[in-house]
Symmetry: C3
Subunit: 391 residues, 3 copies
């Protein structure tokens, strides 16, 4: 190309090219197209931007640290323990106050266990320690015996407390006995827990507010209320234990003031209380306090603690204006308008009365061999094949 | 349709239809359109793809497991405990080394508590055990009494340590007394904690590196430095406790080598240290060590532990090239260019000098009734109503 | 504008404007454009919508609560502890059953430690307590001394157990000695742990199912299997400890029935077992049981527990049909088809044989000054400069 051609090329870069339109004086299709445009605009402005705030970039990854603290004492008077006062150091496990904490509400104490041999005693839990109220099987099947050979030494009792010593312990005149085991003796007895440590919780000391529907941002809760809000009964739950989730939901619009970014609390029961025989009903665990007597022999008090475990779960998302999702949504809306125009084209070109006429106007057929028909669009009837070619 | 028509339809499917453009030799609008195109292109390439890497699909759901271990000993000499050496098993709670751990730096010991009756003693914490340095109220108001009737038996002392027995204990000649309670006796005394367990931490043993700005990936930290980096004073924090967050941020570009995927550490104080009377200032909790004497009676040592709780919080996101967000961003950019063309059309057709002329060229009005004006665009002045019709 | 003009404007709003197309009877470009269209359509329907389900809005923020429970006993017979039976309360730390739990499989017991003075004894761990099997250094270097001046009183032993008292303890006739320290005495001895608490785990009691490839949703696991699935050897891991991650992955399609939303379990070893000297190999921690003798003096049993820590990590995402991502993906696909048309235009206008002819047909050059060439497109050769002007 010569210098002149390059100059022409450079100048033509700044020519403005605009699509040529055909105006069809068809009011029906015109109104249809306007309706489509308004629908897309309403969807884009109303739903995408105002309701869903899709002009925001949302971040759901959240760093949270939960500090919990419990207050209050409880008093029990039972035959096993006598009069006993329970304070926070007694009934909160672990004591640190993290996001998961356990409040002991019931317990089975097996004091003064020592490493020794004793008969295996069947416990109340028939199949898995979850249902202390069911007295299904009297004894652990694997520990039943009629003679010493039924108790091979060194073998662990399935679902039991220890390792068999090889002896079968029988009451006199009885045929069936129980294998002797090496274990922390005496083993935990069968018993249905009856006492509730936390019979009352309203002695909790409150600073200046309590969480309620009137004070939705007060971070001080009554245990009894939490259980009630989760749809459970405190007395029933205290007996067999359970798990309660405390969901804290932050849903923040960072385009507004930080003071409008407030938590929303909700409470739900996480263990399956309806299926009494379920593996996941109730909540309990065993722990032991270890002592040493004057002779230096270890003994322990085994505690099977029933209670309510609280799981504080923090969740949240924060949205802030971001140009990229804004552009994406606007761009998608514009592209959709193109699809609307295509749809209206279909109506105009194939469903309207004068579709043939409009087809001839819209599509200008050119043939390079016959240069005489340069700018005269064809108007014959075989334009119908373009039906699928519009897009 | 006949066979011929179907053949014509099939062949016409592969005709190529291309929009007809009108070239307007208007350099102003041409340059404007090029500027719009370049702006969109620069936004798309520079901001969306290079800076924001929006060609990547990001995943923020992250599975992390944190293992922590502390080293070092501390020595204290106090009147209460005498000379005492503290090692890891003494001052780290819980000992397992999970993502939340607590280093005891101060404590109030109440040794040899037994279940008995004793007077309720007001503690230093006026409203909520958070401000041990404030000597606000001498006694717990609910435990004050003048006669036995002020101490109804069985009622728990609000914010106290036990349950009232019904007796009012008074010094001789004094009018006011304190209710007797059933509790772990003696109750915790009012006292301001003075000693710091961890007066020094530089005895920590370091393997080969320490975290610093020069070694940003070394996972060994000095406690004192962590506190300093969080903007706090170790001595002040050790006295009343506090919570420090250790944020570990992974921001990985999986399109690069894995060795470039490194953590970024940051430290911040999570409790509110500025509001001394706040409910969330400082950090402490109570726990007890249980003993049994030769007669088999339980007693315990209650420890109110002040210290620094460290919360290791892992956060991260990983991005990897994905075709879907790439296409979405390119598509949105293209759609936006269509909007740019629409904007330039508005300028050309309604703001330029020869707008009427260009309108006539761009819009070819067709009327089916008068087939004589087939391909001759109208040039009269009443084209202005199309102002809103261009889109 | 007069009333008539306004009426005309209002009516013209509902005129339908449609782009004018030029039909190029060029089968090659026509087929190319159809291929491009089909490719985009296949990508959109096949990949974006069917495979990737991008018509769904996905939420990865997940609230989970994990309840774990262990069953089974183990028996050991060692010279240090004699015959001993271990049950859940002995070997699970912490006992609560949260998402992170530790099963003690090995231990070094240091009984009857008291606060006293004794020589610092070098332990087996040369640099960081991670490699108990390596007998690298006999003594802690910082505790070695030749005279009392080498042990400045009050200084902590680096990597040691206590604070120096100022005395250098030597065997008779030997030149080198060890600093006396104030510590919990006697200090932990050098020893390689040999016993495994959990030699067998198959005594675990199982309810009705075990997790396996046949039962992928059974939530009851054998410890040995978990370790095996994580690619480790239980005996080797029990000796020096380790960390195993149990990933539970929920990938739910909420457009389907909830019963199809099931967890997927996977297991992996999280500590670095290959680097024996690494800082992160194995897993152990120290804890102590505190006792008090008849004289009221505290003593403790220090336990260095080796074992397997299990981290249950729950992860998941849920997708549900949402109109916004659907529209965005459709819109992007449509915009991409516009880019395809632009590409085909380039082929037609600059690479085909009759490119000049098609250029003249597509671009209608108008000049306002010469109104005589109104609708006759120019056909001369200097159309080539439009090469970059098509978009």
């Amino acid at each position: 190309m010569g210098q002149v051609a390059w100059k022409g090329f450079f100048l033509s870069l700044f020519d403005y090219k605009t699509e040529k339109y055909v105006i069809a004086k068809n009011k029906k299709v015109g109104i249809l197209y306007r309706v489509v445009q308004l629908t897309i605009l309403a969807y884009l402005v109303g739903w995408v931007f105002i309701v869903k705030k899709s002009y925001q970039d949302t971040d759901t990854s959240l760093q949270s640290s939960v500090i919990t603290k419990l207050k209050g004492v409880a008093f029990t008077n039972t035959s096993e323990l006598g009069e006993r006062l329970w304070d926070v150091a007694d009934y909160v496990i672990p004591p640190q106050g993290e996001n998961v904490f356990f409040v002991m509400t019931n317990l089975i104490v097996t004091p003064n266990q020592r490493q020794a041999t004793c008969p295996e005693v069947g416990r109340t839990e028939p199949l898995g320690s979850q249902t202390p109220t069911k007295l299904g099987s009297d004894n652990i099947p694997d520990a039943l015996c009629q003679q010493d050979e039924d108790c091979p030494a060194g073998e662990a009792v399935v679902a039991g407390n220890g390792v068999k010593t090889g002896r079968c312990l029988k009451d006199r005149d009885s045929i069936r006995g129980t294998c002797e085991i090496l274990a922390w003796c005496p083993v935990e007895k069968r018993s249905k827990p009856k006492v509730n440590v936390l019979a009352t919780t309203n002695e909790s000391y409150l600073k200046s507010c309590r969480y309620s529907t009137e004070h939705p941002y007060c971070p001080i809760f009554l245990l009894g209320n939490i259980v009630r809000w989760a749809g459970s009964d405190f007395q029933e739950m205290a007996l067999e234990g359970g798990v309660i989730g405390i969901q804290i939901e932050w849903n923040c619009d960072l385009d507004k003031a930080p003071s409008e970014c407030n938590p929303h609390y909700s409470f739900s029961r996480l263990d399956n209380r309806f299926s009494e025989k379920s593996i996941s009903s109730g909540y309990n665990f065993r722990f032991a306090k270890y002592y040493r007597d004057a002779e230096g022999v270890d003994y322990r008090t085994l505690i099977k603690a029933y209670g309510i475990r609280f799981d504080v779960m923090v969740n949240g998302k924060a949205g802030k204006f971001n140009i990229i999702p804004t552009i994406i949504n606007i761009g998608s809306g514009l592209a959709l308008m193109g699809a609307g125009a295509f749809f209206c084209d279909l109506v105009l070109l194939y469903l309207s009365k004068k579709s043939n006429f409009y087809r001839g106007k819209k599509y200008e057929e050119v043939r390079s061999s016959t240069s005489k028909s340069l700018s005269s669009p064809t108007l014959n009837g075989n334009q119908s094949p373009e039906q699928l070619g519009g897009l």
